[in-house]
């Protein structure tokens, strides 16, 4: 074997460059996750639906049944600080001095599952309200964008899901979500989040939190269906989004949102 060094180097470089370019092209053609290709539920046509969620904050009484129902339905550990949905309480205190600065006390003890305690005397409070929070299933989801392997994906019916068989557990998506809607599932070693109870909605049922809400503060429905309540609210009410300036295009639509809510 008599190869000159020059030839060898040239050949080596070609191989390395060729292999790098080649694998990049081939691999980027390979779909990241098989789950993205097929609806996770047989017999359900995900091209026929496009789901949306409405929160009427004026109706929420902070009972916590939604958050509790969610944990039970989705087997989210009760003893860990992880939530697929939670309720925030905002209390704007009366201004005592003349600074005109308002003190806003926000809390969500245990995600609001056990309800809320009155730890500030009522006479000190100017206004108070509850805001249920949940994954926004953004149309332009930062979590989907930043996932390095494509384990987080948007289904054709507009739901953002995690492929637990594919997620590497880097937690970049948790950093990328502006709403704090994602958490790390220590048992699976992967990221986790609200699925809008995908296993239920694909069978024609409501998400557990919507089902459990006694006041109708949470509504869920098909935006493709002109007769659905959610679609009607969208068409008739004035609605706001959380952090709209980030361009994430959330699909949880809020009624009666205060300026303090972030």
């Amino acid at each position: 074997m008599n190869i000159s060094r020059r030839k060898f180097t040239k050949f080596g470089c070609k191989i390395i460059i060729g292999a790098t370019v080649g694998t990049t092209i081939i691999e980027s053609l390979v779909t990241n996750s098989i789950a993205q290709q097929n609806p996770p539920v047989e017999g359900y046509d995900w091209e026929k639906h496009f789901w949306g969620y409405v929160v009427d904050t004026r109706k929420c009484i902070g009972c916590g049944r939604c958050a509790s129902a969610c944990k039970m339905e989705n087997e989210v550990p009760f003893d860990e600080e992880v939530y697929r949905t939670w309720i925030e309480r905002y209390r704007v205190k009366k201004t005592i001095n003349e600074t005109r600065e308002e003190e806003v006390v926000i809390d969500s003890p245990d995600g609001g599952i056990e309800g809320f305690e009155d730890d500030i005397p009522a006479e000190e409070i100017k206004k108070a309200f509850y805001v249920p929070k949940i994954c926004n299933h953004c149309d332009n989801a930062p979590c989907v964008q930043v996932c390095p392997v494509g384990a987080t994906y948007t289904t054709k019916d507009g739901v953002v899901l995690v492929d637990y068989e594919y997620c590497i557990g880097c937690r970049y998506c948790i950093q990328g979500c502006p709403y704090g809607a994602r958490y790390f599932n220590a048992e699976k070693g992967t990221a986790d989040k609200c699925t809008w109870c995908y296993h239920r909605i694909t069978k024609g049922l409501l998400p557990a939190c919507v089902q459990a809400c006694p006041t109708g503060a949470r509504k869920f429905g098909d935006l493709n269906d002109n007769t659905s309540e959610v679609k009607k609210i969208m068409d008739e009410e004035r609605i706001t989004l959380l952090k709209p300036d980030l361009g994430t295009k959330p699909k949880v639509f809020y009624i009666g949102l205060d300026r303090e809510v972030k």
């Binding site: 600080e81 926000i106 929070k133 989907v144 590497i168 557990g169 970049y172 704090g180 070693g189």
Partner: protein, 389 residues
């Protein structure tokens, strides 16, 4: 106890800090790699002959750190066994997905560069040794023993070309790490287009400082005279890059404060309550201003080599500590503010755990051990005025 660590309101899912000390280590190590490589390019590409004594040593340093750069990430993953998927099925919209490729490309360049600049030594060793050593060096030489003048000249030409590709690659490798943070719009402390260039400048600064320290240590251990011209030249470049670095870091803070957007209250709280000491104290004062003044004095002083040596060493130690603090302030600081912009939380490092301080220490010691092994196989000492052993 948790309540004491949290101020204001943080989203319920934020009670745990997700990216720990290991993720602080990751940009720190890649920064040292990029910096050391760029230091070696000062000789290889820009022909700064006064750097020659450390040029090859710098390459070996870059390689030693590069080999462990992937480790903190891998250890941190929830499913490390799936980590390779980032290479097989990269999701191209993710800033993180390119890391495997950029890392591999850069590793190839560094290895080739080292091979070319050590090839003559390798061939000589292969020809002069016997037994397993002969086999080792022959295989390192890829069984090509041509060290004629023409061949060496070709080597040099090719090495220079590689180094020219290497500079943008090193810059890209580390600027890219900055973008992983800078591209996160959800986090006001990270989301700035300046992040990649700030990362790059601090990387160069830390790499040069590390090289200075390793060079001094190597010379002390080998009981050899330090080439003061080389050392002062390195110190000079360190000084220049410190200026660029501090300009960018201050520009970021000043523009954040001046623009005073919605998030300024929480940023101010972060800077005063959470990372005040590590930011103003360690990153800026200890890591930049003190070395800046010391190095300025070094460049103004005449003679007094021993004093200068001390001042350069102290500056370099402060710089490597300061840059670590900078990585800490970015990675940990960014997670200590809630994305609700209404509260802060506190990172409490754990010692014994998968993501604890202990694995971080082990990972950080590894490159020094690798460097010891690599320099014993490919000694760069004759560049430093020592006779070949």
């Amino acid at each position: 106890m948790l309540e004491n660590l949290i101020w204001g309101y943080v989203y319920p899912n934020e009670s745990e800090i997700q990216w720990s000390i290991l993720i602080v280590l990751y940009p720190y190590i890649t920064g040292l790699v990029a910096g050391a490589f760029i230091a070696s390019s000062l000789y290889h590409v820009f022909g700064k002959n006064e750097i020659k004594p450390v040029a090859r040593f710098a390459l070996l340093t870059a390689l030693s750190f590069l080999l462990v750069a992937m480790l903190p990430l891998l250890v941190h993953l929830g499913r490390p066994e799936r980590g390779i998927e980032i290479m097989f099925t990269p999701h191209v919209t993710s800033a993180m997905s390119g890391f495997g490729y950029i890392f591999s490309f850069y590793l190839t360049i560094v290895v080739l560069e080292i091979w070319l600049s050590f090839r003559e030594d390798i061939v000589n060793k292969a020809l002069s040794s016997h037994g397993w050593k002969e086999l080792l060096y022959s295989s390192l030489a890829l069984f090509s023993f041509d060290i004629s003048e023409k061949a060496l000249h070709d080597d040099e030409k090719f090495a220079r070309k590689l180094a020219i590709i290497g500079i943008p690659s090193a810059a890209f490798l580390h600027g890219y790490v900055g973008f992983i943070f800078g591209g996160i719009k959800a986090n006001p402390w990270w989301s700035t287009p300046l992040m990649p260039i700030i990362f790059l400048m601090s990387a160069i600064v830390s790499g040069i400082a590390l090289l200075i320290l390793l060079y001094i240590a190597a010379m002390k251990i080998r009981k050899h005279v330090i080439d003061h011209k080389c050392l002062q030249s390195l110190a000079h470049y360190l000084w220049i890059f410190l200026i660029l670095d501090v300009t960018l870091e201050l520009l970021e803070i000043v523009s954040m404060k001046y623009a005073s957007r919605e998030d300024i209250d929480i940023i101010n709280r972060l800077l005063s309550d959470k990372i005040g000491f590590t930011f103003y104290g360690v990153q800026l004062t200890l890591g930049i201003f003190i070395p800046f003044v010391l190095l300025l004095m070094v460049s103004l002083m005449k003679n007094r080599e021993t004093l200068k040596l001390y001042m350069i060493s102290i500056s370099s130690i402060f710089v490597v500590i300061g840059v670590f603090a900078m990585r800490w302030n970015v990675v940990i600081g960014g997670q200590e503010i809630s994305k609700s912009l209404s509260g802060t939380l506190t990172y409490v490092p754990v010692f014994f755990s998968q993501e604890g301080v202990l694995p971080a220490i082990i990972i950080f010691i590894l490159p020094f051990i690798i460097l010891l092994v690599v320099t014993s196989i490919l000694p760069p000492w004759k560049d430093m005025g020592e006779e070949p052993s």
